[in-house]
């Protein structure tokens, strides 16, 4: 019933989606944040009537426009790739996943695209206040569009609010509000948009620092740095807070992923949080999986237990607990989950066969299984495990998860320090004297991009092998295409996106360099 899948097809499909998502995410966070910064600047222009604020607004708006177009280009691919490359997934979850995408289009994209035209072309055509309103609506629209796609993504991490329908062989929405207010969705949305605010703030401070280093555009630079520093400090504090709540939610709903972040193989009470560490492969294996060990690590004792439960003495399960099971903690062995998943799959297939044969007695008997809470909670909940080859398949790539997570967190704290220093110096009025800081600010521009991309690596690579946690592995979700077709489009996308990125950076740099003193 489910054909054997060519693994190279799965790998190429994953690579293509990752490529598109990574490129798309190079441009989106700046849009999320800089639109609010621009709106704040324009508000000051409208409030004070100071023409310099208008010039500053227009300068950042120009950079935003260049960035926006390429973000839109790469975004359209992502939406359609759910269908083109993950068609089995699209059917299995379309009843749930499609609705947020449609709402995103109806509410957010139209808001953004309608008022962006007013924002760029309406300076001399509409009133000041209407123009300002349009700018704010672009910022709100951009961030609203992030909400809906993140709601959809959060459902993949923590599927809630649905019921499986064996007749259609798919999950169907049962509770819209449960999907919208999925705890993962709330955390993810707040954490993601604030990451965009942080990135945009560093972008603005970095570019402005360059002006100061070149002894140009002082007023633009100072005013921009003040706004971006305040926005950045607030956003940074908030991102650390949402990062903390995200981790707690994750520990509850995706515990293997959470254990992989910390490379925690052995569960323990009073678990320490690794602040810095390096991994290497050990001699120990679990099936095909090689266990990693620390070359060195610096830990905060008990802090991981506190983070996950609020209790320093709490037991934090490790990867081996989830592979071998831990009866004391009520964790089933992965092998048992695989058995239960296969049973659920067999029941579904038997139901389909009975329907095909028109065996009404069997149909009625098997159909009731899917209304039985015991079957749903204890068997169907592990449906996706039926397609795994062995217990060790439940473990994502530990080194990638570990390093991505820790670099992202470290950068998050660095950004807070950067914003605090920037605000301190600029308020003190001697920012230009600290040329070392201006250089650091300038060279920090790529760092939030790295942190932001690592955030997605953590979220998506950490979820493996699942496309929908526990319900569907990526190997089952893929479209029935030839690997060579996907490889070809991957190469075409890679060339095209890279060429466009080069053009974008080149145009941005030129726009900054040629910004004349007012």
């Amino acid at each position: 019933m489910i054909d054997s899948v060519d693994l190279s097809l799965v790998d190429w499909s994953r690579a293509q989606f990752a490529l598109t998502a990574i490129y798309h995410w190079l441009f989106v966070p700046l849009t999320l944040g800089i639109t609010f910064i621009i709106a704040m600047m324009e508000t000051l222009y409208v409030k004070t009537g100071d023409e310099e604020w208008k010039r500053i607004t227009k300068f950042w708006m120009k950079l935003f426009g260049i960035n926006f177009a390429i973000g839109v280009s790469t975004g359209i691919i992502l939406e359609f790739e759910f269908g083109t490359n993950w068609s089995n997934y699209s059917w299995f979850v379309g009843d749930i996943f499609g609705a947020p995408l449609a709402i995103e289009g109806i509410f957010a994209f139209f808001l953004e695209s309608t008022f962006i035209a007013v924002m760029f072309f309406g300076w001399n055509k509409v009133s000041k206040k209407f123009h300002l309103l349009s700018t704010w609506l672009v910022a709100i629209g951009a961030n609203l569009s992030a909400l809906w796609i993140l709601v959809a993504n959060a459902w993949m991490q923590n599927p809630v609010g649905m019921v499986f329908n064996p007749d259609t062989a798919r999950n169907e929405m049962q509770d819209f509000w449960a999907i919208l207010f999925n705890p993962v969705a709330v955390d993810k949305f707040l954490h993601t948009i604030t990451s965009g605010f942080v990135l945009a703030s560093i972008f603005v401070i970095g570019v402005s620092s360059w002006f100061l280093l070149k002894n140009r555009n002082h007023l633009l630079a100072y005013r921009s740095i003040i706004i971006a520093s305040v926005f950045g400090v607030i956003s940074s504090v908030f991102i650390i807070y949402t990062g903390d709540t995200s981790a707690r939610t994750l520990a509850a709903v995706q515990p293997v992923k959470f254990a992989a972040f910390e490379a925690l193989y052995e569960g323990t009470a009073n678990a320490g949080l690794v602040t810095v560490g390096a991994l290497r492969k050990s001699d120990e294996t679990i099936g095909d999986l090689t266990v990693n060990e620390f070359i060195f690590k610096i830990e905060i004792p008990g802090f991981l237990s506190v983070m996950t439960t609020g209790d320093r003495e709490a037991y934090v399960p490790g990867i081996k607990d989830y592979i071998y099971g831990n009866p004391e903690m009520g964790i089933l062995p992965a092998a048992e989950k695989i058995e239960r998943g296969r049973h659920a799959r067999d029941v579904l297939f038997d139901y389909k066969k009975a329907k095909e044969a028109g065996d009404n007695e069997a149909i009625a008997a098997l159909r009731t299984r899917f209304d039985d809470p015991d079957f749903i909670q204890n068997y169907f909940a592990y449906f996706g495990y039926a397609f795994l080859n062995g217990p060790e398949d439940i473990v994502p790539n530990v080194p990638i998860s570990f390093y991505s997570f820790h670099i992202m967190v470290a950068l998050g704290f660095f950004f807070l320090l950067l914003f605090a220093l920037s605000l301190f110096f600029v308020l003190k009025g001697d920012l230009e004297k600290h040329r070392w800081f201006l250089y650091i600010a300038l060279w920090s521009i790529p760092l939030p991009y790295i942190a932001s991309e690592l955030g997605w690596v953590v979220a998506e690579m950490g979820r493996q092998p699942w496309i929908i946690q526990d319900l569907m592995p990526v190997s089952v979700a893929v479209s029935h295409l030839s690997a060579s077709s996907v490889k070809t489009t991957f190469i075409l996308f890679a060339i095209l996106f890279t060429a466009l990125l080069i053009a974008e950076i080149s145009i941005m740099v030129r726009q900054v360099k040629t910004k004349s003193n007012p």
Binding site: S87, N88, G98, G105, F121, M173, E356, I507
Partner: protein
């Protein structure tokens, strides 16, 4: 039985919404049609700048409508999304490629240090303008002519040819709709120039080009329409859901749904009236006649192929894998939830209209291009 907010009602309601989005998309592809004249209409750089900026201020609407159309189709009829996108891979990928290069072309073309030069980005606009409408037309034609796929018991699609959608280009009927949409978008693009550009020379030559493009449009559209009406169609038994071939199915659909037929005829007449006004009068507003006509015609065609127990995405390989609005839709709960959400659509349309009017209150002139802060 169809009652208020029954699953059947909601399936038909959402087919109407998706069809409306598709018909608006075809109208808004005047942007693509206009782009195809980037090298042939302007006589100098200023005229080219005016042409590019006329369409550059509207590309986001087409883009957003395409994205919303995709999202709405995914939400309301996910089996179509999974089947067509996952199966006709190459056609959809080609469409997407053409749209990627459009968005950045406008923003990058006139910017210094754009690496590839203005001409490259202008060629991108030409490619998007030609390929986009043509391929979307071919893809939509398969709603009437069918595609080579098969679904298994878990509704997973397997495409039956290694060409993954490119085989649609071998059908004369598919090609005819592809070319009809392309030439219609070119006509609408020229009409939009009449509406929005203040340049007598450009206006005069646009009117001539409308006349020239009308001939291939009429030939290809009439070929498609006549063969459609005379062809067998893919009917679905409302009791069993089985799909079978029915003689003159699409003609019967029109006759059994007179309102849809009236919409189709009114749409075609309005398109022709707009063309007439463009060529034989000094009217600057024919795009609104032909635009309305386009929306009505496309809407009528899609309602005709979705309603009245018809398979809207027929399988040529296995008739019973064909998709109907009954077997391809989302659940009752999802459609009902989205039904309430759709009440916001009139509000969205209202603010789009308001913003559009605010920006378009003056036609684009040479003077504006010389003073405007944000020029493509």
């Amino acid at each position: 039985m169809m009652t208020a907010l029954s699953h059947m009602f909601l399936q038909e309601y959402w087919w109407l919404i998706v069809s409306l989005l598709a018909s608006l998309l075809v109208f808004l592809m005047f942007v693509q049609g206009g782009q195809t004249f980037i090298f042939s209409l302007p006589r100098n750089n200023m005229q080219k700048t005016m042409l590019v900026n006329t369409f550059g201020r509207k590309w986001e609407f087409t883009f957003t409508t395409l994205v919303t159309f995709g999202g709405a189709f995914f939400a309301a009829f996910p089996l179509f999304y999974a089947t067509s996108f996952g199966g006709a891979y190459w056609v959809w990928m080609a469409i997407l490629f053409s749209f990627i290069i459009q968005a950045i072309a406008y923003e990058f073309r006139s910017k210094p240090a754009n690496v590839f030069g203005q001409k490259t980005f202008d060629v991108f606009l030409l490619i998007n303008g030609s390929l986009g409408p043509f391929l979307i037309g071919v893809a939509v034609a398969t709603f009437f002519t069918g595609a080579q796929f098969r679904l298994n018991e878990l509704n997973q699609v397997t495409w039956q040819t290694p060409w993954h959608g490119l085989e649609a280009l071998l059908s004369l009927r598919n090609l005819s709709l592809g070319f009809a949409v392309l030439f219609l978008s070119r006509i609408l693009g020229l009409m939009y120039i009449l509406n929005s550009v203040e340049d007598e020379d450009v206006t005069k030559r646009s009117r001539k080009k409308i006349a020239v493009n009308t001939i291939p449009f009429l030939v290809t559209f009439l070929f498609f329409a006549i063969t459609l009406i005379l062809s067998e169609g893919f009917a679905s038994d409302p009791e069993t859901g089985k799909v079978y071939m029915e003689k003159l199915k699409y003609l019967n659909n029109f006759l059994q749904m007179p309102l849809v037929l009236a919409m189709f005829l009114a749409g075609v007449l309005l398109v022709l009236f707009g063309i007439y006004r463009s060529v034989f009068s000094d009217c600057y507003k024919p795009v609104w006649y032909s635009g309305t006509g386009t929306v009505l015609t496309v809407l009528a065609l899609l309602l005709m192929v979705g309603y009245n127990n018809t398979a809207f995405y027929p399988s040529l390989d296995d008739l019973n894998s064909s998709l109907t609005i009954r077997n391809a839709s989302s659940s009752h709960f999802t459609l009902r939830t989205m039904f309430y959400i759709s009440f916001a659509i009139p509000f969205v349309i209202a603010y789009i209209w308001f913003a559009w009017k605010a920006i378009n209150n003056k036609r684009i002139s040479q003077e504006e291009m010389e003073t405007e802060h944000h020029v493509y």
